[in-house]
Structure formats: structure tokens, C-alpha cells
């Protein structure tokens, strides 16, 4: 598969649509599954991993699925392509850069369903949705799991549920995450308080690219920690309740901003657009910070000539691997910062020309 064909697309999670999309970027549910009668991937030898990959791959091509899931061998991909798939949230950084041997990912054309093979667990199923859509995402991944289970025997224990390589995933093997954009809570310095409340109820907050990654651009992923002792539906209900609370906090913080410092916010958005449209060198971090201000400006109706999903487009296309694919060449750090600035200038000029 030529991954370059994905480049102009936004993928399901960046469509910018769906319920509560003023705050919620996307919903993701992941299921960890392992084949019975094999060691876990971390302890499997080359022959076993090859066998697991073959069985997983065959199952993915033969199972009754709503959309085909073509398989890409990650082991065979150049580094840039692996990073590209990480940026699109189709594979983990571990599968891309840390793990070795036979491994890969199958995903659909819309990039809403993906299955990693030979990650920490033999199979990691994932379903993504724009906006807040936990029920839909669960219904889809539940069906995918059934379809795979019809052809594969998963390791299951009557007491411990689905068995996983790490005890933190055992039971349902399910991790539900909701990615939220919380700039107003950041500006009004309430974010720490909100996250302390989350930890008390066993939900985890992470940055955009998962475990250990720094929150940038005011984007946060909120997910469940518990997988044993609570059913999938109960865990999803708990996430939904917390997201409802966070939505309320973020929206009222936005109202406060508009009421009390409209002029200052307008200025911040105008400056962000100014920098994005005129910088000659810009890092990915700075781009994310500025795009966060622009996104907030759109939802506060401080700017009216920018379509909401342009922010998402700029956000994904200015990530390192995407940028290098766009430019068709490998770039070092400095070259990347210059190329990123060039791309942003061109895109914002295009927008200016269209709005006149």
C-alpha cells in the first residue's frame, strides 16, 4: 500500500464533526486481545511471532467485516512511514520504533478502524470517531471483536477475563479515551484542579500521543484505568459522566473569557494567525499552541473566515512526518521548521485570497 494516498485526507478523528465538537476532538476505544496457546508477543520467538502475524492477517482478510481492513507490515516500512502512521494515530510509538520483528497494522479507508498485530498484545483493536461518540465506537468495536473471535481463539479466563501481557489491561482489555481541547481551562488556570478531580475517580489524563507524551496545544486524552471488575458499559458511562462535567467547565470558562476579556482574546487570536501567516521558521510545538488559540477563536466567534476543519488540517499536515511526505523529502530539524512555516504561509494566503 502506498501511504502517500492518505496524505490529503483528514482521517476519521480529525474530521472536526460529531457531537460536542466545540470541545471534543475525537473518541477512541481500544481492545487488547491475545491468541490462546501462544506466549505473549514480548516472549514469543521469531517463529511464533511470524505465526501470530500470519494468523492475524488471514483472519483480518477473511472475517466478515463492514469494510475491508488491508494489512500493512510495519516491519517492512521505512522510518518516515512508520512515524506518519503514528501521527495519524493508526499505530503506537512502540509498534513504530521500539518493538522488533513481524508486526503490522490493518486499517480501513476512512481510518476509523485499525488492528495492530504483535504490539504488546497479539491484537490491539481500535475504533475512532469524530466528536463524543462512545456508544457508537463501542458498538463498532464489539462487532469487530465478534467477527475476529469467530475465527480466532482468544486467551480468556473465567475469573480474570481477557488475558493480556500487562496486568493493567486484563479483564475487559478495554481502554476508552476521549480527546478534548481545553484552552479556556488552561487560560483561566483551572486545568490542574480538574485533573486532580479526575485522578480521584481513576481516570487518566495524557497528552496527544499517549503515555508519557506532553500535552501540547491544550489537547488532552481522558481514559479509564480500570479494566477488571467493571463491565465495559459501566466504564464507558463513567467516562461519559466525567466528559459531561469537563464540557461544562470548559464552556463556562469560555463564557467567562468572552464576558471579561473579549478584546484580549481577540488580540491573542489575531496574533496567532499573524505569526502562523508570517513566520519563516516555526516548531511543531509553537504551531500547536497557535492553532489552539485559532481553534478557540473560531468557537468564540472571534474569527469568521476560517473553517473549523482547516485547523485540523494544518495541525496534522505540520507534524514532522506529514510535512516531510508533503515536501517529498527527508528534512532535518531546521529544514523542517522552515518548511512548516512555508506551508503555513501558503495555506493562510490561500484562505485570505478565497475570503476576498
Amino acid at each position: 500500500m502506498n501511504l502517500d494516498s492518505l496524505l490529503p485526507n483528514l482521517g476519521e478523528w480529525l474530521k472536526g464533526t460529531g457531537p460536542e465538537s466545540d470541545v471534543v476532538i475525537s473518541t477512541r476505544i481500544r481492545l487488547a486481545r491475545n491468541l490462546a496457546h501462544y506466549p505473549f508477543a514480548g516472549r514469543a520467538n521469531l517463529a511464533q511471532k511470524t505465526e501470530i502475524e500470519t494468523r492475524g492477517r488471514e483472519c483480518l482478510t477473511q472475517a466478515q467485516l463492514p469494510a475491508p481492513l488491508p494489512y500493512v507490515s510495519v516491519a517492512a516500512l521505512p522510518t518516515l512511514d512508520r512515524q506518519f502512521l503514528v501521527e495519524r494515530q493508526l499505530i503506537s510509538r512502540e509498534l513504530a520504533n521500539v518493538l522488533e520483528g513481524p508486526r503490522g497494522v490493518a486499517f480501513d479507508e476512512r481510518e476509523s478502524v485499525s488492528v495492530m498485530v504483535n504490539e504488546e498484545d497479539h491484537l490491539r483493536l481500535q475504533v475512532m470517531r469524530s466528536g463524543l461518540a462512545l456508544d457508537e465506537a463501542w458498538a463498532e468495536i464489539d462487532k469487530l471483536d465478534d467477527a475476529l473471535e469467530a475465527r480466532l481463539r482468544f486467551a480468556f479466563h473465567e475469573q480474570f477475563g481477557y488475558l493480556t501481557a500487562c496486568p493493567t489491561n486484563v479483564g475487559t482489555g478495554m481502554r476508552g479515551s476521549v480527546m478534548v481541547h481545553l484552552p479556556a481551562l488552561g487560560i483561566t488556570k483551572q486545568i490542574e484542579k480538574v485533573f486532580r478531580a479526575l485522578q480521584k475517580i481513576n481516570l487518566v489524563v495524557r497528552g496527544l500521543y499517549g503515555e508519557g507524551s506532553r500535552a501540547s496545544g491544550d489537547l488532552y486524552q481522558i481514559s479509564n484505568q480500570v479494566t477488571l471488575g467493571k463491565s465495559e458499559s459501566r466504564v464507558l458511562t463513567e467516562i461519559r459522566e466525567v466528559i459531561a462535567m469537563i464540557l461544562q467547565y470548559e464552556r463556562s470558562a469560555r463564557q467567562v473569557l468572552i464576558r471579561e476579556r473579549r478584546q484580549a482574546e481577540h488580540d491573542r487570536v489575531a496574533r496567532a494567525l499573524g505569526t502562523l501567516g508570517s513566520a519563516t521558521m516555526i516548531t511543531s510545538e509553537e504551531t500547536m499552541e497557535l492553532l489552539s488559540a485559532v481553534r478557540l477563536g473560531i468557537h468564540l466567534q472571534l474569527v469568521d473566515n476560517i473553517p473549523a476543519n482547516l485547523v485540523n488540517q494544518l495541525f496534522i499536515q505540520t507534524q514532522s512526518a506529514h510535512l516531510q511526505k508533503l515536501m517529498g523529502t527527508v528534512l532535518d530539524g531546521e529544514e523542517r521548521n522552515a518548511a512548516r512555516a512555508r506551508y503555513l504561509r501558503a495555506k493562510l494566503r490561500e484562505l485570505d485570497a478565497n475570503s476576498r
Binding site: N34, A36, H37, Y38, P39, F40, G42, R43, E120, D142, D145, D146, E149, A150, R153, F154, A155, F156, H157, E158, Q159, F160, G161, Y162, L163, T164, A165, C166, P167, T168, V170, G171, T172, M174, V226, T227, L228, G229, K230, S231, E232
Partner: protein, 168 residues
């Protein structure tokens, strides 16, 4: 009747067991020490047989020994100490091999130790077989206690058959 212990081949056999495998009679003659090691005779004085251990011996399963310090998964060879250091299991069987020490750990991580979510469909079928096997085991223990060895052998064959059906 043999009079030397079949296990240590040294001491005189004083414990005599008869097992019937596939309608053929098999005799087992052990000295008291070896019988104790197999946990056929309970600790302390008295000669009453440990039925649980006897059933286990006939079924070919060792009586589980609880020694949390030196747990090793018989399938993949992972030691519990290595699991604790690396935080990752070696294979699905580790969950049973480490079960006794795992429960408190899972309780700390999840505040729960019993899965209450989705079941794979094949699992529902297995659960039914399991319940039936469990009932047969009860009958087997009763048959052994009443020294109805012919019946016990028949029951054991049925249990093995059911366990075989689960291996699919």
C-alpha cells in the same frame, strides 16, 4: 501383592491402591513415607485417606502446592520474580500459575479481581462443559469414598472425555 514400595523401591509397601484404567486394573503400592509425600495421608497420626489427594492422583493431577516465593509458569517458564521486575507476563497460563499472589496485585490495580464484562461466545459453551465436569467430579469422589472403583473408573473416563471436548 507386591511388598516393596513402587516409588522409592526401598521401603516395604503398606498402602495399596487399585486404579482401573480403560477397564484394566492397575495397582499402586507405596510405603507410608511416599504416600505422605503424595499427600495421600494427612499430616499427623491416623490412617484415614485424603480423598481429595486420592482423586487428584487418580486423575493424574498433582495436588497444588502453595509456595508463593518460587512460582514458575510451567508453560513458558517465567518466574514470578521476573514478572514483578518487568511488569509483563510471559503467556496466558501465568495467570493461573501466579494466581495466589496475583489476586492482591490486581486488587490494588483495579480494585477488583473478578471480570464482569464481555465473554467470548466459545466461552459460554466451555462454562457449560465445566459445570458438567464439576458435577461428575463430585460423583467420582463419592464413588471412591464408597470404594465403588468400577463406577469411579467409568466416571473418570467421562470426565476425561469432557475435558477433551474442551481442547477444540
Amino acid at each position: 501383592m507386591a511388598n516393596i514400595c513402587q516409588r522409592c523401591h526401598a521401603r516395604p509397601a503398606t498402602v495399596h491402591l487399585t486404579d482401573i484404567v480403560n477397564k484394566k486394573k492397575r495397582e499402586l503400592h507405596l510405603c507410608e513415607e511416599c504416600a505422605r509425600e503424595q499427600q495421600l495421608i494427612p499430616e499427623g497420626p491416623g490412617t484415614s485417606l485424603n480423598l481429595q489427594a486420592l482423586v487428584s492422583l487418580i486423575m493424574g493431577q498433582p495436588t497444588p502446592e502453595v509456595d508463593p516465593g518460587a512460582l514458575i509458569c510451567p508453560t513458558c517458564g517465567l518466574q514470578y520474580a521476573v514478572f514483578r521486575a518487568e511488569g509483563r507476563f510471559g503467556c496466558p497460563d501465568d495467570y493461573d500459575a501466579f494466581r495466589s499472589v496475583l489476586e492482591p496485585l490486581l486488587e490494588r490495580i483495579h480494585r477488583g479481581t473478578q471480570h464482569t464484562g464481555k465473554f467470548p461466545r466459545h466461552e459460554a459453551r466451555r462454562q457449560k462443559l465445566l459445570a458438567e465436569t464439576e458435577a461428575l467430579r463430585g460423583e467420582l469422589a463419592a464413588a471412591v469414598a464408597a470404594e465403588r472403583y468400577e463406577e469411579a473408573a467409568r466416571l473418570r473416563d467421562r470426565i476425561r472425555q469432557k475435558e477433551g471436548a474442551d481442547e477444540s
